[in-house]
């Protein structure tokens, strides 16, 4: 950790500032004994809810500019994170009507439609059901959508930050559906949020019964407001917007409900003018998070390339890394655990010779699917499909050690 921060110097937002470094040099380094070793620290439990060190205050989400402050996205600082769990405070947001602030005592989940027994659950009811905890990734289908035509994103936060991985705890939706008794003609559900957009998506019953959860907790604590407190849907491996936040209603129907979000919004326009609908699956994807856009390497020598891979289809089987723009590849080490529909951390050692390099990673999942190049995607889908850009990402390292987003 410490050595990497020194290597990166000021390139990392939140790194030690020059003035702090100067002060440290004078009084805190050997042979001096630093002040914090000569006085008592803060009282135990000085902050009843712990927060990151003040030296990490630059590690934050960034909001992408949007006309309405409540409608838009904020991005996860992937370049600053380790392992496979995204801390709850920096999990990306995609909201269509702001963050609803809901008193859990006032929240209700209504389950109705083609069921034998329409039911209303309180939060106390929900948490009494048998629960499950799983580690899953969550990715917006619009992740990397700005880079279809040219590499406009500067950092991996901008290019890939609509993606996070967390531990989620909730009740299988199948349990609640059983409780209400789905009628034989029930084939789809509508999930609706209690936010100001009344965000709604249809889901096939099959997926609801397979592994969809009604989630109340994230990374060991109750959901954060931005993540749908007190209750959200979680649909593993599928585009993030179907994991409806602030979940207030589930209606069982015999066909998809054709809401605005699944007709005019989250559909993928092809060159022939036809649009794909219900493109739920997030296909295999990976990205190198270190070194990545705007990082500055401090001269030739050893660097550990590290990144994340994920697939909605199941587990990551292998990740290959290239340092020559895809001409040659070698398999990266996958950090255990490698989990179903979760982030997988990969690493590969690299001796930088100081010359130009183009770093790429390529994920292969357990179905044998190989992450494609951007050119391969564009050849089939053109430039107007907006969503589901899972192309291989390229980071160029210049002679001076500057790292930037490129397309090769």
């Amino acid at each position: 950790m410490a050595s990497r921060r020194m290597i990166l110097g000021g390139a990392l937002a939140g790194a030690i500032t020059p003035s702090m470094r100067a002060a440290a040099n004078e009084t805190s380094l050997p042979p001096q004994v630093p002040a914090w070793s000569r006085t008592q620290g803060e009282a135990v439990n000085w902050r009843p809810y712990g927060l990151p060190s003040e030296f990490e205050k630059g590690v934050v989400k960034v909001k992408r500019p949007s006309p309405m402050p409540q409608e838009g996205v904020s991005l996860t600082p992937l370049q600053n994170l380790q392992g496979i769990i995204t801390p709850s405070g920096v999990v990306f947001e995609r909201s269509h009507g702001g963050t609803a602030l809901i008193d859990p005592a006032q929240h209700r989940l209504m389950l109705h439609g083609l069921v034998k027994r329409p039911l209303i659950f309180t939060m106390d009811d929900i948490v009494r059901f048998p629960s499950q905890t799983h580690i899953y990734f969550l990715e917006c289908s619009g992740n990397t959508s700005r880079d279809w035509r040219s590499p406009v994103s500067k950092t991996v936060q901008e290019s890939h930050g609509l993606m996070s991985g967390c531990e989620w705890t909730g009740v299988p939706l199948a349990t609640l559906l059983d409780e209400a008794g789905v009628l034989p003609e029930g084939k789809w559900i509508l999930a609706e949020g209690a936010d100001a957009s009344g965000h709604t998506r249809s889901l096939p019953l099959e997926k609801c019964l397979e592994d969809t959860l009604v989630v109340y907790a994230q990374n060991g604590e109750m959901l954060r407001p931005e993540q749908g407190y007190p209750l959200r849907l979680f649909v593993p491996g599928w585009e993030g917007n179907v994991s409806v936040k602030w979940l207030r209603r589930i209606k069982v129907g015999d066909a998809p409900f054709m809401t605005r979000q699944e007709t005019s919004r989250y559909t993928d326009l092809m060159p022939d003018g036809k649009a794909r609908e219900f493109t739920f699956l997030m296909e295999a994807k990976s990205v190198i998070t270190y070194p990545s856009g705007t990082h500055q390497l401090k001269g030739p020598g050893f660097y550990e390339i590290s990144g994340l891979a994920w697939t909605g289809a199941g587990k990551i089987r292998r990740v290959d890394v290239s340092v020559d723009g895809g001409r040659t590849w070698r398999a990266a080490t996958l950090q255990e655990p490698v989990l179903h529909r979760a982030l997988t951390r990969f690493r590969v050692p690299w001796q930088w010779n100081g010359g130009p390099a183009v770093l790429q990673s390529r994920a292969i999942d357990e179905t044998g699917y190989v992450q494609p190049t951007l050119a391969q995607l564009v050849r089939v889908r053109g430039f107007n499909s907006r969503y589901h850009n899972n192309a291989i990402q390229s980071w160029a390292v210049a002679n001076d050690g500057k790292v930037s987003n490129v397309q090769v």
Binding site: M68, T122, L190, R249, S264, E277, V370, Q371
Partner: protein, 186 residues
Amino acid sequence: MSKSDSLIMTFVAGCAVASATNAQAQAYGFGKPATPREIAGWNIDVSPDGRSLPPGSGTAARGKALYESQCAGCHGMKGEGSLANQLAGGIGTLNTDKPVMTVGSYWPYATTVFDYINRAMPFTAPQSLKPDEVYSITAYLLFLDRIVGEHDVLDASTLPKVQMPNRNGFVSDPRPDVRNADGGKL
């Protein structure tokens, strides 16, 4: 059977006994029945079949003033878009380099327009419009692209019958549709 399994079985059996009088088939018996009145207040979704459309009606002629006061601030006086999305125009552009995706050019169902306005608009006061107002604004948006006439009455029976220009513009998901040429060879 593990210890935890047997605990679950005990628990489930207890519930079944406790709730035997009112909900025999519920495994746990949590939650309360949703009454028709409770459901009616929240059951706002409108599917293409239009079955759940509310009573009421509207026309583009009546919708014009409503649109201009409630919607035009963000979407432009003629639905041309400003702060928020363009809502009209763009028909025939979907297969070009610069597709313009609007209600008129892209949305496959007129019922969805009603549903979305009713649940989420205006942005500053969602769920504040009355059914007649939603019908009228829907009619006005469709009139901007001449999908309905200025005085056509939209209601629960006519709205689902409106044919949107891009009704047949959607296909199911064909993925995996892209193969990495070298198949991931090392």
